[in-house]
Symmetry: C2
Subunit: 88 residues, 2 copies
């Protein structure tokens, strides 16, 4: 919107303020055609003793964690990490 | 920073541009004292056939999903949802 006119060296200027619309998307890229991204783990089908699932929405192997949370955390001062599913 | 001086009605003005620092935190609130929030599920300890785990970082019962992703998605045009862990 427009701020009130202000005097600068005798000239009247209108300073346009930028409306900062922050789209607080947690997920910028993954499966955006889906209305809601839900994944299922059938525990009886897990092959490994430990599987890490992504909660940062930056993994190249989503829904699995590929370690991309490290870069995200560093770049943004964040502290997110995966969910570990352990068979035992 | 400062933009180049511009002439407005004959007056020289310096228009300060706002540096928009977008802190793209996925997690604004949960366990911020921890360097990285990692949780573990021991599948043998799951009591219910299905447990939903939060991936939106807005749940009041994190690491469990309490449905808060619905409000987040609506407010932000996002499409995140939980990870379902199924015993069978
Ligand atoms: S890559 Fe997303 S939590 Fe690890
Ligand atoms: S409350 Fe976070 S995914 Fe459901």
């Amino acid at each position: 919107g427009l701020k009130k006119p202000s005097r600068v060296g005798g000239a009247v200027t209108h300073r346009r303020q930028r409306a900062v619309v922050r789209a607080e998307s947690i997920n910028p890229e993954i499966r955006k055609s889906e209305e809601k991204v839900v994944d299922s783990v059938i525990v009886s089908e897990l092959s490994k003793p430990l599987t890490a699932y992504c909660r940062c929405w930056r993994s190249g192997t989503f829904p699995l964690c590929d370690g991309s949370h490290v870069k995200h955390n560093k770049a943004n001062g964040d502290n997110v990490g995966p969910l570990l599913v352990k068979k035992q």
